[in-house]
Amino acid sequence: MIVFKNVTKRYDNGTIAVDDLSLEAPKGRITIFVGPSGCGKTTSLRMINRLIAPTSGSILLDGQPTEAMNLAQLRRKIGYVIQHAGLFPHLNVVQNIATTARLKGIAKKQALLIASELLERVGLDLSFGNRYPWQLSGGQQQRVGVARALASDPEFMLMDEPFSAVDPVVRHQLQEEFLRLQRDIGKTIIMVTHDIDEALKLGDQVAVLRTGGVLAQVASPKELLSNPADSFVADFVGRDRGYRYLSFVDAASSLAVMIEPVVALGTEAAAARIVAKDQWILVVNAAAQPLGWVDLDRQSGPLRESDLNLSGTLASQDHSLRQVLDAALSAPSGRGVIVDAGRVLAGSVRLSDVVAAIQSAKAAGWGGRP
């Protein structure tokens, strides 16, 4: 557990970066500091490993005040991941990862072994081990940065905008993998971001800071969306928070999934019209995985790959109502495609059924949640 007790940072010129911050980051959970620029979120993070010294107040790691600890030893207990990864350009990937283990006093051979194992853990092939940082993409560098922080097996992790320097597709991928990794390792993590979506997606607990370094609210993502403490938090959480809230509502219980007729590629349009519910027919591959929709009103002859309409998104049965709603909204047929964990078709849902499910979930207090 990381505890902030009345922590203030005031610079010599009088500006206050962090104002009397008190909060707890629970053990094994992800706590996110989020807020506009100048809200002191990065300053707060850097005070934990004392890259910045607090002016007053104290920060406790598992009950021990950090100001009483040896600086190098304090930092070696805490994994540190930053925006541009900050890899060492003269070392190859495995050597980079091994540095934190070496700092902890682990012998070189053992450290390199740990590093190679971590490489696979963060989703990189072993062949990346002897590449140099300049040979990696931004996303790959960030994976190495995370592996390096993990190599000393720290109890705590500090992450300063770790996913904001990569493009949206890679960011989404890194976030998913990060959540999966955290389910395995269960570190006590504090992460800084300016992106409220990222905060709500990754955080077990989100601390919203306002300009001047004042804590506006600290709560779970659900609570933040449904019960913002004041207008600043409400504004910051965003205009479409009603829609975003659906991310936290399970679809499985309340949704009626219908059977959707399907055909394979190469089927004659005339044959497809016989099985189709309406002008739209869903095409699947041999493994029953959806490929796309075909508009039979504009189709004659066999269905080819170039005829597929790919605009529809897929939702999985154990996903949130937000994804199911998106699948229904984006499908040209108006029927959202539902798949199982292996992307195999499970059925479809009508937009009206999704809206009905949302209504009943809301009426039931969002599944019994207060």
């Binding site: 930092r75 540190y80 930053i82 541009h84 900050g86 060492f88 003269h90 070392l91 540095t99 300049w134």
Partner: protein, 221 residues
């Protein structure tokens, strides 16, 4: 020119080509070593702490503008009464060469350290390297390409300028040029110039090779 080089007289005695090259290299190596001892630590300190940047840049520029020939004459006059032996010439000669070699070594070391990616330094500090550890494990290795190029340009300047040692009655390849001029033996003068050029190229090549071997593949692409 070829008869001059093939004349056995020029390969024997007190003015033998081999001997002159040896002397030339000794003066140059000594000056470079002293310049490294001075310029390298100052560059490291200033690069790491960012303290004294203005002083270092100003001093380096001032040193670069010193006229070597005028300086060596002045120093010989100054030191003449102090030393009895050849030192009266050797010390002024080394001082001039050292003053020439310090600026590129010092400024390149500083610039190399200062140019290290701040994210790498921040990461190193955050993960628990001591200040000295950051310097030795991150800043210095990353700065090596620039440091090597500083040593290289210092070596080139020192070797080509070391000809002035002969002007104050010392050895080295400058002997051929100065003596050739005195005796109106233009073949000897040209031979001296060619040899200085070749020596410079050879040393340049040697340092380039050494740096290629010493530098991480992560730094040179």
């Amino acid at each position: 020119m070829i008869p001059w080089f093939t004349d056995p007289q020029h390969w024997n005695g007190s003015d033998a080509i081999g001997l002159l090259i040896g002397q030339h290299l000794i003066y140059s190596a000594a000056a470079l070593a002293i310049a490294l001892l001075i310029g390298f630590p100052i560059g490291l300190y200033v690069g790491h702490t960012r303290r004294g940047v203005v002083i270092v840049a100003g001093t380096a520029n001032a040193l670069r503008s010193l006229p070597s020939l005028g300086l060596i004459v002045m120093l010989v006059i100054l030191f003449g009464p102090v030393f009895k032996s050849d030192l009266a010439y050797l010390v002024p000669c080394l001082i001039v060469l050292v003053l020439l070699a310090v600026p590129p070594i010092m400024t390149n070391t500083y610039a190399g350290i200062a140019a290290v990616d701040p994210a790498s330094v921040d990461a190193a500090r955050g993960m628990g390297y001591s200040p000295l550890g950051v310097l030795l494990h991150v800043e210095l290795p990353c700065a090596l390409p620039l440091i090597f190029s500083g040593i290289r340009s210092a070596a080139l300047q020192v070797i080509s300028t070391a000809t002035i040692a002969a002007y104050v009655s010392l050895g080295g390849l400058g002997r051929l040029i100065i003596d050739g001029l005195a005796q109106r033996d233009y073949y000897e003068m040209v031979a001296g110039a060619i040899l200085v050029g070749l020596l410079t190229l050879a040393v340049d090549l040697a340092i380039a090779l050494a740096s290629r071997l010493a530098l991480s593949r992560g730094l040179v692409r």
